[in-house]
Amino acid sequence: MKLPALLARFFILAAAGLLAGAYWLADYQPVSLISLGLVSLSLLFLRKGWGWLAPLLLALYIGGAAVGFYLELQPAWLVGATLSALAAWDLEYFARRLHKAGLVIDQAGLIKAHLLRLAWVGLLGLALFGTTNLIQLQFTFGLVVFLALLAVFALSQGIAYLRRAGD
């Protein structure tokens, strides 16, 4: 088995474990059991190669983390679970891309570059998350609405650009 596929499995276990841990610590044992149930589904999906299930699983993990934030669970566990889920989703896609190619030139170099990029993105995300948690700002309602609209607009523009310029 190639390194990206192995790492994808590791991150699936990590995501589910962290999510289950966050709920377990806050006495939501049934939810943590459901989170652990997600592991078997995720591993089955990897084994069977059901690519269509990957977005659903990512959404489930992120959704689980979002609900955790709403329930005011331990943020470190939740952000760890989200990052792990994102990494697992990314690496699963990368493993499929490697598998699809009949020949991979400089495979070690490609894997290294991919993992490095993923690590940078993860670290930057983590740093931003940490910063936002540290900074406490008081906004007026109008400013919040304005910032929300600005965020939605910027995100829309970014996605639209990526989709237009890409495929």
Binding site: I62, L78, L98, L103, I105, V121, G166
Partner: protein, 434 residues
């Protein structure tokens, strides 16, 4: 699902739910996804500018022979972090060695090569072009391009070598060839005796006959040998085709493949003898190769045979629409067909119109018998089918149509040798007919 769309939707979801529930953690969580997306925006590839040169060697092969394909790709644009290159194969071609898709990085100005070996069954194959998909390392932002790399491979049918194929059309052309012309003149075979004419060589005088007549001399006349018009009709109707799994029972799949090989062998042998040969593929549509001579015509016919496919059509389901005007009057027609019962009347009609009709009929009953059925061979059904077929062949022969009943387990060249005796017997009978 598109990765950008998924991340975007999740980001939106977190943002909106976070705002609605006033949960700062959710908004911060959305940042992780935004950073991931932003990496695609930052490191995404520029528009692709690739130059692709394709070399295929050889570009004319026989079925199953290896085809070596070599692609040279030059990146004329900026560096690409990750590029997936795929040379899609036309349907029917398969890779036997190497790989037709590559994942790599491609620096600016870099040149890379893709080599692979493919093989195919009979057909004409055109390569659609190289498909390139470049992305950043995380594969968030992708750009696709289709680089033109034209190429064509012809997999021509394998033709068994025939030394000679005996035909005897009712009418020949004016040029000398190898086919007896039913006319006296210079030739090899004895044709008759006629009165001596000034200019006849002395060695042609028939002294025995001349001795019986006072003051008259007689010369031997030989049968002229000329070239002929030959129309080969390849039956590509779905209803006459029998298909067995390829490779099983030592067969080539469809019985049609044997007929194509036979058509190739016949056209090669007849063209080599100097005849004018045309080909009509009668199936879902009519594919007509106009009659001609020589090597160029051989090439045209082989190309037509390479692209011949079994097809179904309500119009051409029987031979009724065989375009008779495509074939010169009283010429030789060779039909390659497993035959069905309703072909009888049309073939008899062709014969009545003055064509010399020869049917090379691959035996579908014997062919189907090669494959064991689920409940064992149904002897009665096979016997009935064989009887029906022998009756059909017998009726055709009575109508003056020559039939070569060919069991395809025997190679075509050997089958022709075996059939030669029977054909020459039939020809002797036909010679007496008007």
């Amino acid at each position: 699902m598109n990765r950008i769309l998924l991340l975007g939707a999740l980001g939106y979801g977190l943002l909106l739910v976070g705002l609605a529930t006033r949960t700062g953690g959710m908004l911060a969580l959305a940042l992780l996804l935004v950073v991931y997306l932003a990496s695609g925006l930052l490191f995404g590839p520029q528009p692709l500018n690739l130059q692709v040169i394709r070399a295929t060697a050889p570009d004319r092969v026989s079925p199953g022979d290896p085809i070596f394909i070599h692609l040279t790709i030059t990146n004329l644009g900026p560096a690409l972090e990750e590029i997936f290159l795929e040379d899609p194969l036309p349907y029917g071609l398969s890779v036997i060695d190497g790989a037709n898709s590559v994942l790599t990085t491609l620096p600016a100005g870099a040149v890379m090569e893709i080599h692979y070996t493919a093989q195919a069954g009979r057909g004409l194959f055109s390569f659609p072009g190289l498909q390139a998909s470049a992305a950043d390392h995380l594969g968030v932002f992708q750009r696709r391009a289709n680089a033109l790399a034209p190429g064509q491979v012809q997999v021509l049918p394998k033709a068994p070598q025939l030394k000679r194929f005996p035909i005897r059309p009712r009418q020949t052309r004016v040029y000398s060839g190898l086919i007896p012309a039913r006319q006296g003149g210079s030739g090899v075979d004895f044709f008759g005796v006629r009165q001596y004419q000034p200019g006849d060589p002395i060695r042609r005088i028939n002294w025995r006959t001349s001795a019986r007549h006072q003051e008259s001399l007689f010369s031997n006349d030989f049968e002229q040998e000329r070239v002929a018009d030959v129309g080969i009709v390849l039956d590509a109707r779905l209803r006459t085709n029998v298909h067995l799994p390829k490779g099983a029972y030592g067969v080539q799949g469809a019985i049609f493949e044997y007929q194509v090989a036979a058509a190739a062998a016949l056209s090669e042998a007849l063209l080599r003898d100097g005849n004018r040969v045309g080909l009509l593929v009668y199936g879902a549509y009519l594919d007509w190769t106009y009659p001609g001579y020589g090597k160029i015509q051989r090439e045209r016919i082989f190309r037509a045979l390479a692209r011949a496919r079994v097809g179904d059509s309500s119009i051409f389901s029987n031979l009724e629409y065989l375009p008779r005007r495509a074939f010169p009057a009283r010429s030789q027609l060779i039909l390659l067909s497993p035959l069905v019962v309703d072909d009888l009347s049309i073939l008899v009609h062709l014969r009545a119109r003055g064509y010399q009709v020869l049917v090379v009929s691959a035996d579908p009953v014997a062919y189907e018998r090669l494959a064991p059925t689920k409940h064992g061979p149904n002897e009665l059904a096979f016997r009935l089918a064989a009887l029906e077929r022998s009756l059909l062949i017998s009726n055709l022969m009575h109508a003056g149509v020559q039939v070569m009943d060919w069991d395809v387990t025997i190679p075509f060249d050997q089958a022709v040798k075996l059939a030669e005796f029977h054909l020459s017997r039939t020809q002797a009978i036909i010679r007496g007919l008007p």
